[in-house]
């Protein structure tokens, strides 16, 4: 939009940005405090990080969380992309709208509903709660976001591209691998990353379907936080913050790469939980 921002406006956003980031930095700063509470900084130490790395249980949970995130993102990206192609291929308008409405149910449902209904579902199937129920749940709630990231790219693709490939003698499989997939690749990558963040961010759904033996970082943080402050969590926050930064960095590097070799992405994706 036209017009430059006013002085007052700039001051306003700086204040809000400060408020947005103070809790995060507060958390990280105290991970270096040589004390036991998040009050009165007691001098610099890396002790909490040391404790965190020595914590075998925490390390296992961390690896489990990453494994769940990567596996679920991989599967949801495959199924979500296929779903996007299916939705794109629907001939009738109301068919497409119905599919899209069904698709968005998991995106707009409150987490507790997803968690509770999946819990009922797995119990009805007699599937034991643990790694597999968590993995399936994550795949399930990541699929719709992948679809929403891929579908716009497909819709953007001129139908004459497909016709041209067909016209030149390409088979459906060749069209898919040589034309469609390369064209929608940026959407697929964005969907994959979005799926990873959904997985890493999720607490409520996992909390419902995780059972006793298996835990992810979110659930672990919750149960520790309920017992009060432990600066080991602060150290974990510090590490996860760096991890997020790296993820964001990779994501935007890929985006920018696509940007330079394609059209400009002028909309920001809205991440949701």
């Amino acid at each position: 939009m036209a017009n430059r921002a006013s002085k007052l406006g700039k001051i306003y956003i700086i204040v809000i940005f400060l408020l947005m980031y103070i809790p995060i930095f507060y958390l990280i700063i105290y991970s270096f405090s040589n004390g036991t509470t998040m009050a009165n900084f007691n001098g610099f130490t890396l002790r909490h990080y040391g404790e965190l790395f020595a914590d075998k249980r925490m390390l296992a949970i961390f690896l489990d969380t990453i494994l769940i995130a990567l596996l679920s993102s991989l599967f949801s990206t495959i199924i979500g992309t296929m779903g996007a192609i299916a939705v794109h291929n629907t001939k009738r308008r109301h068919q497409r709208e119905t599919l899209l409405s069904l698709n968005s149910i998991l995106l707009v449902s409150p987490d507790v509903i997803i968690g509770a209904s999946f819990l009922i579902f797995f119990t009805a199937l007699k599937l034991p709660l643990g790694f597999w129920s968590v993995l399936l749940s994550h795949i399930a709630f990541e699929i719709p976001i992948v679809l929403l990231m891929v579908l716009p790219r497909l819709d953007e693709m001129s139908p004459s591209l497909i016709n041209a490939a067909m016209d030149l003698g390409a088979t459906p499989a060749q069209i898919l691998s040589k034309i469609t997939l390369p064209f929608i690749q940026p959407g697929i990558i964005a969907g994959f990353f979005m799926a990873i963040t959904y997985s890493l961010d999720d607490f409520a759904v996992t909390f419902f379907v995780t059972g006793n033996g298996f835990t992810t970082l979110s659930v672990e943080i919750y149960s520790r936080a309920r017992q009060g402050i432990s600066l080991e969590i602060n150290a974990l926050a510090g590490i996860m913050f760096i991890f997020s930064l790296i993820l964001v960095g990779i994501y935007y590097l890929i985006e920018n790469h696509n940007l330079s070799s394609g059209r400009k992405l002028d909309r920001v994706e809205v991440p949701d939980r």
Partner: protein, 269 residues
């Protein structure tokens, strides 16, 4: 041959829709008609609508979500407006997105420290001579922390709808003699309504069910619909009642969707 090739794409997706979208919703509705002894009954609904506790809880829950949403809009709209006018707005909006990549529970946990008796906020109060307050486990802190978490999700859709407005509308408006304020109220706000509406969608519905926040920040004082579902499913194991509350949550979600759904016209036909 062409047909079966296309069918290949439908199968996994439709399977997912059936198993993880339709079946769970159906199951939750089904379970809402069973009591704790697995007997078919309408008593869950009767209890819900006859006991004051559940209705008050629902009303409270809606009120909390409403306040969280309103506060988020009030803070986010000017944010989005200013950022959309900045030179490097892509970079600034990245700063809005970044906190959303940090785990919700870590942010909630930070506030346990910030708001505690010896935390940063009370230290600041002390600096101005205000006596330390009990801030954790109050309604206000719950609402403010929830709003803190939701603000980025409100800024983004509003920002997107602002960047969609072509410069020429703003120029046309001032060309025709509108003041800045008139341009804002008569052009910009109406044109960003779709963004505000999708912001409400993204913020209001989850705010009904932030059970982890009400547990960590609100203590056990604040019971929302989400907390009740969690309690019935994971603590008292009364899945029937939990499902009933879940159905109420689903219905309120549908109502919100109906109110905020703007038929988005396709950019490309």
């Amino acid at each position: 041959m062409k047909r079966s090739f296309k069918g290949l794409f439908y199968t996994p997706y439709i399977l997912w829709l059936a198993m993880f979208v339709i079946a769970p919703v159906a199951l939750i509705i089904y379970y809402s008609f069973f009591d704790i002894h697995h007997q078919f009954t309408f008593s869950n609904y009767r209890v819900f609508f006859e006991s004051g506790t559940y209705l008050t809880m629902t009303a409270n829950s809606v009120l909390y979500a409403f306040l969280i949403t309103v506060i988020s809009i009030l803070i986010s709209y000017p944010m989005a407006l200013v950022i959309s006018k900045l030179k490097h707005r892509d970079l600034w909006i990245l700063l809005v997105i970044l906190p959303t990549w940090i785990n919700l529970l870590l942010k909630a946990y930070a506030f346990i420290g910030l708001l505690s008796h010896d935390g940063l906020v009370n230290n600041l109060f002390g600096f101005f001579g205000i006596p330390a307050q009990q801030m954790l486990f109050t309604d206000t802190s719950f609402i403010l922390v929830a709003a803190y978490i939701q603000i980025p999700f409100m800024i983004l859709p509003i920002y997107n709808s602002m960047t969609d407005i072509s410069d020429s509308y703003i120029r046309a408006s001032s060309d025709l003699g509108a003041s800045k304020w008139q341009t804002l109220t008569k052009i910009i706000i109406p044109m960003t309504m779709p963004g505000i509406k999708s912001g409400i969608q993204i913020v209001f519905i989850p705010s009904l069910s932030l059970f982890m926040l009400s547990r960590l920040i609100g203590g056990n004082k604040i019971i929302t619909l989400g907390t009740a579902v969690e309690e019935h499913f994971l603590t008292t194991m009364n899945w029937g009642m939990g499902s009933t509350i879940g159905v109420v949550l689903i219905i309120s979600m549908v109502v919100v969707m109906l109110f905020t759904n703007t038929k988005r016209k396709g950019r490309r036909s």
